[in-house]
């Protein structure tokens, strides 16, 4: 720990209730000057809620907040900014058609004192050099990758002079390399006396970056420990109250017939630019094919092409031997293609509808959930109750609107829905993103089970270790092309890394 032991933030007795849940239950927390403090806890433990209290988005039902020893009332985000608190949310709030600098100063200039863009640009460049946050201040946001956009959010906070930074699962959307770069930045902030709250479900990251860890369970603080006095195993004990075993997954020996055959597929992205070039692969029953690659190299379009949401400009897609190239998404669903999209708020769920409704979002036509032209709502509720239990989803009830679920629980809802259909092919993007350790294991085991039941699975992920432990083969996408397909048994992280950077398999080998 650098700096003195000045207390930047002291939360005491913070309680926040939502209808049917106590998200934070008398939480005490101290954040020191120059400290990286991790919040750890299962999905729905109350981490995001606590951060939202500290940024004035939620007002606590009880408890007090003091900043640098002074008791404060945070009525709204503006108050928090004035107290020098800034937060990087999981979904960013940037304007794509503006430049990095414009986004950073947006909302700062008022009335007669407009912000001078040139001055701001210089200052942004200085900050980015100072903290090792690599991003071009003049670039347009739409040109940036997710990782770069996150850096803009961080610069925005630094620009406003915040000393206290809150990062809610920042690494969930980053590639391993980007995560390493983020850690360099965080360390240099710490060295300059900033205080940082970091949230992550990845224990190795937590061990690597934090000074102290506070574990939340069921909304309560169950312990704050120094990282040097602990280890991943005891952290997960604290978190879930039991040990978590990390299973290995045997692959299936004999594969069945091909379920998905993609040949020579080309496709355009939503801006009309080529996104996929000459993609050819097939997945057999009983197989998990992984797709590795840095985000934005055609993963989204690939997933959409093989689920009927995007029509390829050339090539063919066959499911169970039937040509489906020009078929609608509806026909893909009927043919037994399940899909877990990356965008869980924007695509995979309807925020204002209940869990029950969302569970039948893609299944409401099935006889099980239909009564003639009507929706069999009782069946949907029964199904919802079953999945809530089976997938351990924390929610007050099946009638709760999806909007109020925690990030990880939302992901569980989508996984539960797509994994319990009688699918032949399951397409999953970032399966375990945002899931806690226990849920991650559960989902991996379930995917493995499905493989052994003879289903075909396409797993698109940036988590190389997950791909290596789960899949049969790994294909690497780069600029919309497949750089090669490796057997997971023989693949190494180093060579996958080179292929992700654009080297063909032949050159790597």
């Amino acid at each position: 720990m650098v700096g003195g032991n000045k207390i930047a933030v002291a939360l005491s007795g913070i309680t926040k209730r939502f209808p049917g849940v106590i998200a934070n239950d008398q939480v005490d927390l101290e954040l020191l000057e120059g400290e990286i403090h991790t919040l750890l806890g299962e999905n729905g433990a109350g981490k995001s809620t606590l951060m939202n209290v500290l940024t004035g988005i939620y007002r606590p039902d009880a408890g007090t907040i003091s900043i640098w020893g002074k008791a404060v009332q945070l009525e709204n985000p503006k108050d928090a900014i004035e107290q020098g608190i800034g937060m990087v949310h999981q979904s960013f709030k940037l304007v794509p058609t503006h430049t990095v600098t414009e986004n950073i100063v947006l909302g700062l200039g008022r009335g007669l004192a407009p912000v001078k863009i040139e001055e701001a640009q210089t200052k942004v460049a200085e900050l980015s050099a100072q903290y090792g946050v690599k991003v071009d201040p003049a670039a347009y946001v739409w040109q940036l990758s997710i990782g770069e956009q996150q850096r803009v959010e961080i610069l925005k906070i630094l620009f406003r002079g915040a000393k206290i930074l809150l990062l809610d699962e920042p690494t969930a959307v980053l590639t391993p390399q980007e995560a390493d770069e983020l850690f360099v930045t965080l360390r240099s902030m710490r060295a300059k006396g900033h205080s940082i709250v970091f949230i992550s479900h990845k224990l190795d990251e937590v061990m690597a970056i934090s000074d102290r860890v506070t574990v939340l369970r069921g909304g309560k603080n169950v312990g704050t420990v120094l990282v040097k006095d602990t280890n991943p195993q005891s952290l997960s004990n604290l978190m879930v109250g039991r040990e978590i075993k990390f299973a290995t997954f045997p692959r299936k020996e004999a594969l069945g017939d091909p379920v998905l055959e993609v040949e020579g597929v080309h496709a355009l992205n939503s801006r009309g630019l080529p996104a996929l070039r000459d993609i050819t692969f097939s997945v057999a029953a009983g197989e998990i094919l992984g797709f590795a690659g840095v985000a934005g190299n055609g993963q989204q379009e690939l997933a959409e092409v093989i689920t009927g949401l995007l029509e390829p400009t050339a090539g063919s897609v066959r499911v169970n031997g039937v040509d489906m190239t020009r078929e609608s998404a509806r026909r893909f669903i009927d043919a037994g293609v399940s899909y877990v999209p990356a965008d869980r708020h924007g695509v995979a769920t309807v925020a204002d509808m209940s869990l029950s409704h969302n569970f039948v979002l893609r299944r409401y036509r099935e006889p099980k959930f239909a009564k003639g032209p009507f929706l069999n709502f009782a069946a949907a509720v029964g199904y919802a109750r079953r999945l809530i239990k089976e997938f351990n989803i924390s929610t007050p009830s099946h009638a709760t609107p999806i909007r109020s679920l925690s990030g990880g629980n939302l992901q569980k809802v989508i996984l539960a829905r797509e994994m319990t259909t009688r699918h032949r092919l399951l397409v999953v993007m970032s399966a375990t993103r945002g899931l806690d350790v226990g849920a991650t294991e559960f989902v991996r085991e379930t995917l493995n089970e499905h493989r052994h039941k003879g289903r075909a699975i396409v797993l698109i992920s940036e988590d190389l270790e997950e791909l290596l432990s789960l899949t049969n083969r790994i294909a690497v996408l780069f600029h919309g092309e497949i750089m090669g397909i490796l057997d997971a048994d023989k693949a190494e992280i180093a060579s996958l890394g080179l292929m992700m950077a654009g080297q063909a398999q032949a050159e790597v080998a």
Binding site: F18, N52, I57, Y58, E75, N76, P77, K78, I81, E82, V105, L108, G109, R110, A113, P114, V115, K116, E119, A120, R160, G308, L309, S328, A329, R330, R331, F332, I333, D334, Y339, P341, G346, V347, A348, T349, V350, A351, D352, M353, H357, L361, R362, Y364, R365, A370, P373, F374, L375, F377
Partner: protein
Amino acid sequence: MAMRLELRLERSRKLEVLVPVVSVLLSLVVCAVLLLSTGTNPLTAYGAMLKEAFGTSYGFGEVLVKATPLILCGLGVMLAFKMMFWNIGAEGQLHMGAWGATAVVMTGWDASAWLMIPAMMLGGFAAGALWALIPAYLKVKLNTNEIITTLLLNYVAILWVAHFIYGPWKDPTSFGFPMTKQFPDGAQLLRFGDSRVHLGLVFALLIAVALYFIQEKSRWGFEIAVTGSNPRAAEYAGMNAGRNILLVMLLSGGLAGIAGMVEVSGIQLKLLKDISPHAAPYGYTAIIIAWLARRNPWGVVLVSILMGGLYVGGETVQITMKLPVNIVLIIQALILFFVLGGDILSRYRLVFDRKEALSGG
């Protein structure tokens, strides 16, 4: 001190109910101020309106007469709004419906009501539906803005009706008035007792029940709700947005068309110029109704009856207290204004900034 709106993360149930009620009350208060400024005691005026509309059986009958087309149009608009398709064209669809029903009569066919009425309903429905399908089709094919197309088509429909009653369908014995001749008995809807309340009210209520089941219970209703709430999720769920836009507008326009049909067949007994009140046309009032009713079919029925009361009460004070007929329009506009404002406040909260903002440096 600056003011600004901030998104509420926690949406309040209480506000959802409170907003429509408070908006109606506020609009009455503001209108009271207007009345005072013209030297009228607002309490006397409101009292007279209330008494006339809901205190006498004749008045209440007239309320139901007005409520009938309002319910039908309101249900149609509600369904379109549920899918976030902004159908502002109920007024035009109502006119086309009236025209379509009249067209059946104008063939010269004279049969019993058992045949005539269903045929006229079909004609009204079909004409209203076709009229609504034009903007729907343009939206699906060319992604045109439906607010503009539905609105502009209203004027076309009104002129279309005018063309026929000034021209080919004009009754030669009408002393030059632009109207058709009176419909034969078989083309007139049954009226109850000696009131003007007619069978159209029963149709409207039955359709409200049907729409409740379609919108709230059916799988198609689920598709409409999902499409309205998150179109990308609808696409992901394999729902056919284009087809649903066409179908929803077919029903939406068809219902407004039936409103036009019951107006000519139950009330006017001929096609003429002002089938919809000039000051506050049914088709536009229906928009306010659908919004106030929170897109709920029972709500539409209830609010339509209240709005019917406003029409009847407004007519009364116009005659007895010599107030301008526009008072109805003013109250309606104020209600809409407050409901929309209230909607914003139930989603955002108003924040007052005490301190000066940070400067850019």
